[in-house]
Amino acid sequence: MPELRGSFGDAPNHLLTRWFGTPDLHRLGVYESKAGGYSALRKALLEMAPADITSEVKTSGLRGRGGAGFATGTKWSFINRDAPGPKYVVINADESEPGTSKDRYILENSPHLLVEGILIAAYAVGANQAWVYIRGEYDEPYRMLSEAIEEARAKGYLGPKPMGKDYPLDIRLYRGHGAYICGEETALLESLEGKRAQPRSRPPFPAVKGAWGRPTLLNNVETLATVPWIINNGGAAYAKFGTDKSPGTRLLSVSGNVRKPGVYEVELGQSFRHVIMELAGGVTEGRSLKVFWPGGSSAPVLPASMLDTKTDMEALAAARSMGGSGGVIVMDDSHCIVRAAHRLLKFYAHESCGKCTPCRVGGDWAVRTYDRILANEGSQTELDTLQRVSDGLQNGRCLCGLGDSAGWVIDSTLRHFREEYEDHALRHECNVGGPPAASGRHLPRDRDEAASA
């Protein structure tokens, strides 16, 4: 898949994707010789104490790239390295958030980068066994990651004595079966244990009681893939990028009605105007931007007027949205927001695991309310119902974030596009010109074509 190789974004601030695009980077030899691979692991295993590794990650200020944005070093320090018995590192490679493809991008470009990050993390928190929970549909990344692990094993980088150090390390893969909820960390653990994927009540947090009841570190692919750079260059060097509270760069998967959809490595603190209008080439010819999701479908939407919002987590929180998984979904003015919200709610209702009441019932109730509005049977009652269901889904009412996300879709679209909702519900008309354009119409066949366009 050539169009998925390469480093895009603002050169030279590429920490993660610096060597992406190098031919055969996924081979161990190339990764070592061209990209200086496994030097961080060597340094960590042979020169650093585990506590120093964790404190280096703390210094970097790196925050989880899976969605919640929790401080990675702090998370590592929650694991009691000296507690007896097995501990685990579990990597969330389920990447099920709509509009997000950055983990796949890393896995298909440089699987060794992740392997190296995993091994460093496992050593730092005192785990000997890591599990990668990988999205079931990711055949190619699965194959590439398996091959990378085997290469590293053959070279002696993992196994009973990695790099000669008497500290056994191993990585195993587990393929998901296509449920969105498995991207939620505790549901992922349940699934990994072979159970029905439903979130657990927290506390206890996975750091105390995770996989098989043991202390477990759960990190996203991008988070761990960033770790080798931090070890090589130091946490302070990393913290120089980005903003004070959201340091570094992150991968944004830009999709939707843009001319150059793709994965872009962006220094945090850049504006979405820069990402969407410059890096991704802006919206389609003759159209204007209507709305975008800044962090996957779960992040509350921002209207075109908020295009100057910055990509760091604090700026997004101030705009009542969030950084989420970094999936930037762009819609132009040919789309009806009510239909878009309806479609997303169908997704959340369908993917609700059914464990907690508000999410199980609320999502479905919202879908049925949207059904009535879009069938021109709406009234003020339906609008009230939507707001009520949305309130009932948010702010700790649900067991995990899925319910909140469903609520945010309703809430943020209602907040920013009240007029459009009222057109549908009260006046039974749509002033946006029909159903959304068929997907793919705006998508170039490959990146070269996009570049020449």
């Binding site: 009540s201 059914g354 009441t357 019932v361 009520r388 309130d391 009932g392 702010n395 009412r397």
Partner: protein, 625 residues
Amino acid sequence: MPDINLTIDGHKLTVPAGTLIVEAAKTVGIEIPVFCYHHKLDPVGACRLCLVDFSPGPPRPQTACTTPVSEGMVVRTQSAMAVQARADILEFELANHPLDCPVCDKGGECPLQDFTFRHGYPTSRIDGPRLHFKKPIPLSDKIALDRERCVLCYRCTRYYDEVAWEQELTTDERGVQSFITSQFDQPLKSIFSGNIIDLCPVGALTSRVWRFESRPWDMTHSETICSRCSVGCSVTQWQRRGQLVRVTSHENDDIDEGWICDRGRFDYTDVNDPSRLRTPLVAGRKSTWADAINAVAAGIKGKGAKLGVSLPQDITNEEAFLFRRLLDGPLKGAKVKMHGRTAIPAPAGATMRIRELDDARVIVVVASDLENDVPIIDLRVKKAVSKRGAQLIVVNPESVDLDRHPRTVHIRNQKGAAAAEVRKLASHDLLKNPGGPVAILFGDGHGSEDMNELATACGALAEQVGGKEMPLYRGTNERGALAVGVGRWDKLDAVDAILNWGPPPTAGLPRSVKFIAAWDHLPRDGYENAVVLPAATFAERQGTYTNVEGTVQFLRPPIAVQAPLKEGWEVLCELGAALGVTLDYPGIFPIQREIASRIPALASMAQAPSPDPEPTPVLIGPAHP
């Protein structure tokens, strides 16, 4: 454990560390409604109905069922945020509920109704059609499932998983389409299945034996003791117009912890059998009590060893005591066999209490399949193992359900050679340094073991490892009968006359008999030419049972004995008179006092409890939001 001080709705209280907010609130009479939370199951925080507001904490409602109290915590169940959150959850629960309350068995004792009344919105805002499922679905021949009424609290599946260690019940599909189902749609087989009916907070799981039988407010009930085995679980028996219509569990943490087995729950319809014997019969004709008792006395008097007596397993202590008087006098020398008893000898003194199993570090189960012999002790052992980390050693030639735990050590002995294995156990790794109390439970292998040898071996093991023994008597009042001295195990062959009390012996009435006196509540084959005395059932008789651990428990029958039926002790007194023994008691209390003074093991019978147990307090909830 250190105590924690906190405030709930202005009430200051002190509770042990680790107490959940929902439990702490109960101690000051504040109701926090729950569906998924159950005090005997691990908290999951799934239904979200127990949302409250507390500080220090995030500015969001939090689940009271998963949050332990902390020092200085201030809990507000009545803040606008918490009240609205709970009302919203109830509205969600009702959004697809069929509201078929008029024909629902749960109606009138339904937490969904009560919580909606106390915590829900006063008017319905639910619009649109509701979700439908095919219903009712039979989960077994005893339990029906109504998926539309289900609020998916997962109490039933969690109970199956955590408490019963069964894999028969699960959830299928996801989201709003989720439903409870038996594994692969097979009927539930577990002997513990009925507890899910009591656990269900709505009318989703109902008893097919009771279904559509009566409304909850149309019955009276009585907290009494189950008569189906030696465990002596507390049960609530419900009667309507002289019929026993329902049996539910009644929590007694010393013995059953609120669980009962399906035998205790569903095996009661014989009480209401239309063919019940109610008048005495002599040679197939109705007779007076006096004539029938004289006929019995004439048939059994002076027979010596030619008389056989089959005793029921649920003979009360009082009946056993009176019968002992007959056995010491006119019936001297008779052969006596107690129905369903084990070959375990009488205990030398006090034995281990069921409750003590909770703290055992190692539990040894010898020659008994607890699941069938003493079902609720089986659950107690499972709890000790899976929730409290006890180690389990099973000595049994067959597989048992306790083997489902991965840490169970199963030692397979040759049939009859359990004692030899027990003698080797003292050097077992787990028993060398058990790190706490050791429990040794032993049965009789249903007759396969030499009980003198096995009891001696278990006694020796208990002494070596500092453990306590629990002999697993099976018969309901076997231990009481042993204490009184009538729990014998004679062979009934070669007798001329038989007094068959209760159901006939498993092997049938001996062929050699020429005279049969039957004292039973149902007509059976072989009674055609017998003198038949009608018997009261477990739902009618007064008296006491001594359970497997030696606790004497009083029956509180929900149904009065109605003439011409008589209490067992009355019949025995009359039979005594006909046989020439004076048994002159004006009521059952003098008998109980006499037993208490004569038999040390039954001394607690002197203090009969009040016939009316304390009523369960009703928590008054807040006004509507």
